[in-house]
Amino acid sequence: MTATAGRVESTPRVEARGVGLRTGLVTVAFLVAALAVGLAIGPVHIGLGSILDSAFSHVPLLHIHQSLGKDERGILWQVRAPRVVLAALVGGMLAIAGASYQGVFRNPLCDPYLLGVAGGAGLGATLAIIYASAAAAGTTWTVPLAAFAGAIAAVVATYALGRSVGAAHMTGALVLAGVTMATFTAAVQTFVQQQHTQQLQNVYSWLLGGFSTATWHDVAICAPYVGLSSLVLVLHRRVLDVLSLGDDEASSLGVDVGRARLAIVVAATLGTAAAVSVSGLIAFVGIIVPHTIRLLVSTSYRAVVPLSLLAGAGFLVLTDVVARTVLSPAELPIGVVTAFLGAPFFAIVLRTSRTLR
């Protein structure tokens, strides 16, 4: 008995803190609560019980009669639900992409727009809003597609520019190339927009981001990308921890650093581009959410990556609720709300970032 106890004591607890059961449950609960709030709150209040009834009434054999009228059902399932789901997808994607970029570039201040996604998408959307809406009568596809294409084009250009510097200084060069690309696309975008001031309002409201026009169609465009890239990123959570040791050590541990980095960057970028193309440019989510998790849970990417996905989804759903209720019936652009909450938060993170490295 004593011998056993002695052995137990001398065996150190060697474990990597991943997502603990409690943390995982709390985060899932946060997301579920956020979704419920998102569905319930609005100009027409719909009680949680009615939401559940209505949801389960679609399940055969249960014979639940829903208490909602036809109009309320329409509001719930055709207006609010796609909006809430889209906000969750976009928030989760931006947060997990931000966390991954921060890991790959070993820089806690990186955000998902780092490699020019935002600038490219902004330029693409601006061009579509100004030149295409007249011609194509502004189909629902034009603006997201142009934004997506612009984002991908900008990132490919950033990558080519960064690569031309040479593999040895790749990460630093990529960040600088991203800044270059963002500045350039912003310049072109501003120029085009100033030439067509009559469309300024439309361009502006797209740039600031939002979900006011969200439909199931948008969800369907965005979901496959978000699903696939978050899967790839979650699978890479331990690899991100290895990469935090630096290129040399990761490589001496048998990891093909170049390939791992490329896989992570491609996944994060594709997902971000898809998210941005249906929601516009929503700032700060990719920074606030991962850092909150680092401060509250762990800096290991095994926790940061999966928890960012869940918490980011819940966070943006709640932010969207704020955006559409504060000035109701008018809506605040959601980018304004995230930035308003994000800037002070960012200041706090900066002040404590000595402990984050």
Binding site: S10, T11, P12, R13, V14, E15, A16, R17, G18, L235, H236, R238, V239, D241, V242, S244, L245, G246, D248, E249, A250, S251, S252, L253, G254, V255, D256, R294, S298, T299, S300, R302, T355, L356, R357
Partner: protein, 246 residues
């Protein structure tokens, strides 16, 4: 191996015996780090590196990582990672690319922690350790890799005299367990005392090689380090003492 047109190390032929300790010595910029990085497969080179008789380039990165552990001069130690988490990362070559640690990996990491007597620090973040404790955590990380070859770049630089001996004794103990050790070193006296073979590099070429008594001669040190030294040799070892010229 070369950087652009400049060959950093030329004509290096090195044979490290199992359970042996080879020290690469030489002045700043001689190519010690470059040679070690080539051995670890971290830098491109011409010629071949054979590990256990097998060509490292054909083995692939992961297989090499299971055979060769490398500790750079200034290892990256993320402050918020715990010692246990850090040491577990040493198991990477034994884990599939997208996999996680299993029981055997945790056991190997626990053994490494015990071997270096830091099991009580397992849950401490790296940022809270003293320099000496951190050095042991780094060694434990390399040890958890369970590679038969251990490459260390200047393991004692920036440590005080006592700590230098502590770390070197530790490495010596690991070598007694059967590890093959290759280190680069600047302290010639210590190099002579711990390593049974010294390889003196200068401008990328091997200029002397052998036991401490053979390599550490006043003319050698003068020619390659440009230093004026007195060599004192007695039963306890070869001592390289700096001597002012005038």
């Amino acid at each position: 191996m070369r950087f652009g047109p400049v060959a950093a190390v030329r004509g290096l032929s090195l044979r490290a015996e199992a359970g042996g300790w080879t020290a690469l010595i030489g002045p700043n910029g001689a190519g010690k780090t470059s040679a070690l990085r080539a051995l670890a497969g971290l830098a491109a080179y011409e010629g071949e590196v054979l590990v256990d008789g097998r060509d490292a380039r054909r083995l692939g990165r992961r297989a090499v990582a299971r055979l060769v552990a490398f500790v750079p001069q200034k290892p990256e130690t993320p402050a918020a990672l715990t010692v246990a988490e850090y040491v577990l990362l040493g198991r990477t070559p034994h884990i599939s690319y997208l996999g996680g640690e299993g029981r055997r990996d945790r056991e190997a990491a626990a053994r490494a922690l015990r071997r270096l007597e830091i099991e009580s620090f397992a849950a401490r973040p790296l940022g809270s350790l003293s320099g000496g404790e951190l050095q042991r955590a780094v060694l434990a990380r390399a040890l958890a890799q369970e590679a038969p070859v251990l490459l260390l770049d200047e393991p004692t630089t920036a440590l005080d005299l006592g700590r230098q001996q502590l770390v070197l004794e530790l490495i010596d103990a690991l070598r007694q367990d059967g590890l093959t050790v290759v280190t680069t070193m600047h302290d010639l006296t210590l190099a002579g005392q711990y390593a049974e073979r010294l390889v003196l590099l200068d401008e990328g070429a091997v200029v002397a090689e052998g036991t401490a008594a053979e390599v550490l001669s006043a003319p050698n040190v003068a020619a390659h380090y440009g230093a004026n030294v007195r060599i004192v040799e007695d039963g306890a070892g070869v001592f390289v003492l700096p001597l002012r010229s005038r």
